[in-house]
Subunit: 195 residues, 2 copies
């Protein structure tokens, strides 16, 4: 079965981007504080916390398609058209910029996240679908098309920035699938419980 | 050494109380969703997640004093004057209500959380000090008098309510002290890192 999974590093106070998150300063000030755990690579995963970046990199690269919000896609320059070689679906009401024409793996979807997810799951051929972007993730949660959340809870209070979870219209139950305890982050994987 | 510790159950989206949190509806709608893990008592702590309520109850009862915000204290009726038999310091700019006179263990402190913590640590006789209340905890963080946070991260998105962490004026680094992984909650204990 293909699952849609959001991978996100979040401070204990709920921020996924620091203040002044904009084009030219993607993910805002203090961006690296949330992602430095990822950089401890080059060794196998172990209890000292090194190696987990490589582990999650591998997990992410096993997905068969990407669904991204336009903001995330543009901030990342559409990953140069190549996000580990799989199809990329960008959700936007508006047509893509002209620079996107040169990326055959990038498809803009103008009728919402549920439609993008249907197309991505078909393209993923049974593999999971990776979701990019906090705003889109909330839309996907509300549309019922986000299956799992892999949250890396970082031991810091950023104090300000952009939150992963704004106000949602309803309560959503989660199930804890897996917890990986390291000094640099608490990696918790949740499954969304559907009624 | 005496540590000040905040014990708090928080949804993954950062809420410690549901909507409509007010006197008569303490902790708001959905209050029990954040605290039901606590009710699985009567058995020793185990990996199925039962028993941890008793564990944390015992841990909390080993503290030697309580510091609380006025809102929390009043919502709880000042614990009938007896919070596991230890002195209770309530931070408030205003004098206590007349009903507090009958509680010899309750002291109102009108010159701020740092002063209350100094008094509480002295009264605790080397034991830890338990902190009550989200607003007060943030004030204590900013005043540099909160040493540890025991956060019970509950697998639910409440969607609305009162957050534990509002905007803070500065970044605060934490150190992960202990993670207890159960199906009902991920219990993470943090130590505040001082420069």
């Amino acid at each position: 079965m293909s699952n849609s999974v959001l991978y996100m590093s979040m401070s204990l106070d709920g921020f996924i981007a620091g203040p002044n998150d904009e084009v030219g300063n993607p993910a805002g000030d203090d961006f690296m504080r949330l992602h430095e755990w990822y950089g401890f690579q080059g060794t196998p995963p172990n209890t000292q916390g090194t190696g987990w970046g490589a582990h999650f990199m591998e997990e992410g690269h096993a997905t068969g398609a990407v669904v991204a919000g336009r903001r995330s896609a543009e901030q990342a320059g559409h990953w140069g058209g190549n996000h580990h070689g799989v199809p990329i679906f960008v959700v936007s009401r508006n047509p893509p910029g002209r620079d996107v024409e040169k990326y055959p793996l990038v498809t803009y979807v103008n009728d919402g996240v549920a439609s993008a997810m249907t197309q991505a799951k078909a393209a993923a051929n049974g593999k999971d679908v990776m979701m990019h972007g906090g705003t889109l993730a909330q839309a996907a949660l509300q549309a019922g098309v986000l299956d799992e959340l892999q949250i890396h809870v970082i031991p810091v209070l950023l104090g300000a920035g952009r939150r992963l979870f704004d106000v949602l219209p309803e309560r959503i139950e989660l199930e804890i699938v897996r917890v990986i305890d390291t000094p640099n982050a608490t990696h918790i994987r949740y499954r969304v419980v559907r009624d």
